[in-house]
Symmetry: C2
Subunit: 225 residues, 2 copies
């Protein structure tokens, strides 16, 4: 039981979801948690700001150790609970290298996705340009094709080989996000296979965004990507 841990989170947010998957994989259930609403701007509430002065979710702490950056929380949990639950960093140096490389490429992937999905939210009305929208969509399309290629060439079921690793923990939520926003499964069969294959993994199932369960209908913003 992880009674000395607290997580403030938002449904569907890839950074929040990463931390929740890592906690499940390390058998750290029973932590204190609170689901907040981005729509109601609860990520800017006093409760969050006291833990995370950036006013972002997740806000996470273990005792008095604050780990609000999702990658930081995942690395820390694996390091502190190495022999508990599933091992998330492979011993094999080649798999480990690939895991780190994919993990950090995942940040670029997520950024390119966000620049399309959150464009209107990030860019004030008077500064929006169709040319920027087009460029962002092309960049995301190239990025998705790159990952489709990675998945085609991989040797195991997972992003960095034959074992589920931190690379899957951090990248899988972004891939779910793509499909939630309408990415075409037929156009990206390897990505769709990876997406569907991990859906039933206990750590993923236990943490599937509740707002997606309530409303299974996604959007079609990315259907032509």
């Amino acid at each position: 039981m992880a009674k000395d841990m607290t997580l403030l989170w938002g449904s569907g947010s890839p950074p929040c979801w990463r931390v929740m998957i890592a906690l499940e994989e390390k058998n750290l259930q029973g932590y204190n948690q609170k689901l907040l609403s981005f729509e109601k701007m609860e990520h800017k509430s006093k409760e969050v700001m006291e833990m995370n002065p950036r006013g972002q979710l997740p806000a996470f702490k273990h005792g008095d150790r604050v780990l609000n950056e999702s990658y930081a929380a995942c690395m820390y949990l694996e390091s502190q609970f190495k022999s508990q639950g599933n091992k998330l960093i492979p011993d094999c140096p080649a798999e480990q290298a690939l895991m780190y490389q994919r993990m950090f490429e995942g940040l670029t992937f997520n950024e390119k996705m966000a620049s399309v999905i959150y464009y209107n939210w990030k860019v004030p009305e008077g500064e929006r340009h169709d040319s920027a929208v087009k460029r962002n969509r092309e960049a995301l399309s190239a990025e998705v094709k790159l990952w489709e290629g990675y998945l085609e060439k991989r040797s195991g079921c997972f992003l960095a080989g034959k074992n589920f690793s931190l690379a899957d923990v951090v990248v899988y939520p972004s891939i779910c996000y793509l499909f939630r926003f309408g990415l075409c499964e037929e156009r990206y069969p390897k990505m769709a296979a990876y997406y569907n294959c991990l859906k039933d993994r206990p750590s993923i199932k236990a943490t599937w965004p509740p707002t997606w369960l309530e409303n299974p209908q996604g959007q079609d913003l990315l259907k032509d990507i």
Copy 2:
């Protein structure tokens, strides 16, 4: 001697510099290396693209293990050469938590810096707005103040306590970049003290950007930040 390692790099680039500092700290000298020019677009050359299909520097490999993402390369080097050179991940759980947190906040710091320094390079002429420039500068100013506060409250000389760690490896080059672009030392005394204190550390001195040595005069873009 690290004869089985190859690094393609550009002078002054924080991601390249991070990897070079990590290599020095781990006593991994003598690697194959090639300094390329961003101005001459050499980061898009065939040689780079073969190692890093994103056409970015650094491009790094150890044997046939490719680690182009600077954070990935740093994590990998520390993991594979744990007992060689300086230990870069503290054992103390509290210091380790702080190190991971600062490391990943460093990405936000770097992104906010890049959005000011590279604005004209990133945003096509017809899409530029004074309002965006102003907003980016304000965001960077808030970010720098946040880090000034972190440095004020820290308990040791370094970002995550009393020992030099991966947090310093990845964040220090960005701080140097700020001062290279004119950040005012008087306005940010803690940051200036940290900057000046680490300048003579052997790993930093050995990897100081050669273009900065040739031309010690920086720019003043950030003097009012």
